[in-house]
Symmetry: C2
Subunit: 409 residues, 2 copies
């Protein structure tokens, strides 16, 4: 009998850096330790009750397939939402996807073949690596630095990394894990690079509403000169505390990409139907809903910054969006530190779970002093989690004198 | 400004043969023609009401991410279901997927790299081609013939097609679009090929309960000698009339494949959560539920065969499972025929929508005289749809004298 072996892509599919320490957290809980989970971007906000009313009203007799590109109702709701947000995408210029995740997969598949390359400012949302591995494309990291808040480097740094196989720039704005909101000159740089080098611009804008301190989000959709090459990745997950619904969309004015996403979507038949009903209802919420959650998250951001400022040797510039802080700690290995916090530390019966920074980098060894903190709890719980983190940091045997800030690029 | 172009996989992603004529059907409806949709496997059966009770009871405050491999409750329910079905998979040997579709994608990705090959008995479920195109693997068709009811050819036909890049055999049992249920000697052949040539066996068993005339379904899971290389693709869609829920699973005793599917699953975070609650509830239905739907579909199968027997020049062996008939019609192009039925024909204000056979073949030109009929309506509606089809066939200008039966292989 011949032996059998999984594929290289099966062997090399990266584990989620956000989830791979979950077994240690489970073990800690079994030992009776309370674990503050700042590792994952799962908001504590109650899902708006209006979504349930919609489901009670529209409960189907047969839970049948929906159209592959989403129900007409949800596509219309998305188009209305974009209109209100000042973004010009019609119902015919978008495909409903199974979460923002599938929109990333479809965008990547539509613009690359195996062996092609995509430029991504680093650090970046870890799961880009998983989809890239499955599709056998190469993510080429473009370094940014903690010192200047992970803003984009000049054109020369990008151009050094452009090859004949480069097909696109993929970026999250606001950024995950950085919380960075790109300024006009950074958007202009991306637009210019895409125009000059013939690249698609895939913009992950799932945190669009989460911009603080009066910052305005600049959608790639509104840059006229790249209308033909802009692809927006979107999701209802964070926006409406509907993470488990798995509803997102891909929006673009490029008819070929739209057609490709529709055909790719036909292979998996349809997005889940009940959740499309929930999402439709969520999009009827007034703009004041976003104002409320924005104020809440901005306050939490302030709480995190205040607590981090109290911790000796910790460095972090104030993030302006999303709900993450990527903090540089006085440690050599955040993987070791995060594991140690779960397996060997507790403070008054509690510990704090943070995501090691390395998983957000493609560059080997980068991010080893950084951890991502998701500020997804209300103030009291958040302060408590951060004080436990601070106590852990003080007690950690691998502690160094201060945050090792390596300016990259 | 440099021009921009989608990828080859974006350009070549195949449209669904089941869905691509939908615009013609929509147009017919706009003209006031009633369209009998026999093109798609969307059962008319009411989703068991028990699923709604579960959702009302377990309505979450926050629609949060579930574990990437599914909720513990659903994994336990699946394990119990397998136990009852006489299949030995524990809750730790399966990953909950977004429909059977994602289980196919995960299985393919786990066993092939770009350029690798998978053998598939032809005709086959059309969407295998879509996932194969995205993953840049090659589907190598193994011909079967309408004349003998699409049963498997002997080992020599398979071995002629095995190369150094062959990684797996993928097959649906019961078959879609053929309705063929494999006999013990066919399963033995697959097992022997996989053992001799070092191949995975990916078995799409989503129609497991839909076997008629007392036929027993033989799950690949129960062949001891290939426990290390069997991968089962499963779904609640047809089983519980939950097509729109998008809940399925991948089950295997191969720890590396299981690990790969979990890591691939982490990239897309989680399957939809409400639908996992629905699926859990559906699995509490007693075995009599399956007996009821099996009897119902067997009767519908009889109705279809009776009606087809009345149509001059039509050929079809009695299918023994699933809810499809692949019928060979006295026509040269089923694509042209199906389009003509929608755009140029009506009988007493009605027409019938069938899926052209060509989309279920990778071999160019094959299946051009075949159409797939899904018997997803109750008797009266089904008879009516088939009589309208018969009238269309009689009136069709491209009609030939009789079904052109090409024995392949």
């Amino acid at each position: 009998m011949r032996p059998i072996r999984v594929s290289r892509r099966g062997r090399e599919a990266p584990p989620s850096p956000i989830r791979k320490l979950v077994p240690l957290a489970d073990e800690a809980r079994r030992r009776g330790v309370a674990v503050h989970g700042l590792n994952i971007g799962q908001p504590d906000l109650v899902t708006p009750p209006i979504v349930w009313e919609a489901l009670d009203r529209d409960r189907p007799k047969v839970v049948a397939y929906a159209p592959s590109n989403g129900t007409p109702e949800l596509r219309a709701a998305l188009a209305r939402y974009y209109h209100t947000a000042g973004i010009d995408y019609s119902a015919d210029e978008l495909t409903v996807t199974i979460g923002g995740s599938e929109a990333i997969l479809m965008a990547m598949a539509s613009v690359t073949d195996a062996g092609d390359e995509i430029l991504v400012p680093e650090p970046f949302y870890a799961n880009y690596l998983g989809f890239a591995r499955m599709l056998e494309l190469k993510i080429v990291p473009v370094p940014t630095s903690a010192v200047d808040g992970y803003h984009l480097p000049p054109a020369s740094v990008w151009e050094e990394r452009i090859s004949a196989r480069t097909r696109a720039i993929l970026f999250a704005n606001p950024g995950n894990p950085t919380g960075t909101v790109y300024e006009a000159k950074e958007m202009d740089l991306l637009v210019e690079l895409a125009s000059r080098w013939g690249l698609f611009l895939i913009a992950d804008e799932v945190y669009r509403e989460f911009c603080y301190d009066g910052r305005t989000h600049l959608s790639i959709a509104n840059f006229e000169s790249v209308r033909d090459r802009a692809i927006v990745v979107d999701s209802v997950s964070k926006r409406f505390s509907l993470c488990g619904a798995r509803i997102g969309c891909l929006a673009t004015k490029n008819a070929d990409v739209l057609s490709a996403s529709l055909r790719i979507g036909q292979a998996r038949l349809s997005p889940p139907v009940l959740e499309q009903t929930l999402a439709c209802a969520a999009f009827t919420l007034p703009p004041s809903y976003f104002e409320g959650i924005r104020a809440q998250y901005q306050h939490r951001r302030d709480v995190v910054m205040e607590e981090l400022a109290e911790m000796p040797g910790v460095f972090c510039r104030t993030p302006r969006g999303a709900f993450y802080v990527l903090a540089t700690l006085p440690i050599a290995s955040s993987e070791d530190f995060a594991s140690w916090m779960l397996s060997s530390f507790s403070h008054e019966g509690e510990t704090t779970f943070v995501a090691p920074g390395g998983g957000f980098y493609a560059t080997a060894g980068a991010g080893s002093a950084e951890v991502r903190i998701a500020y997804v709890f209300e103030e009291v719980a958040l302060r408590r989690a951060l004080r436990v983190l601070s106590a852990g940091l003080a007690a950690y045997p691998g502690r160094t004198a201060e945050a090792a800030l390596v300016a990259r690029g």
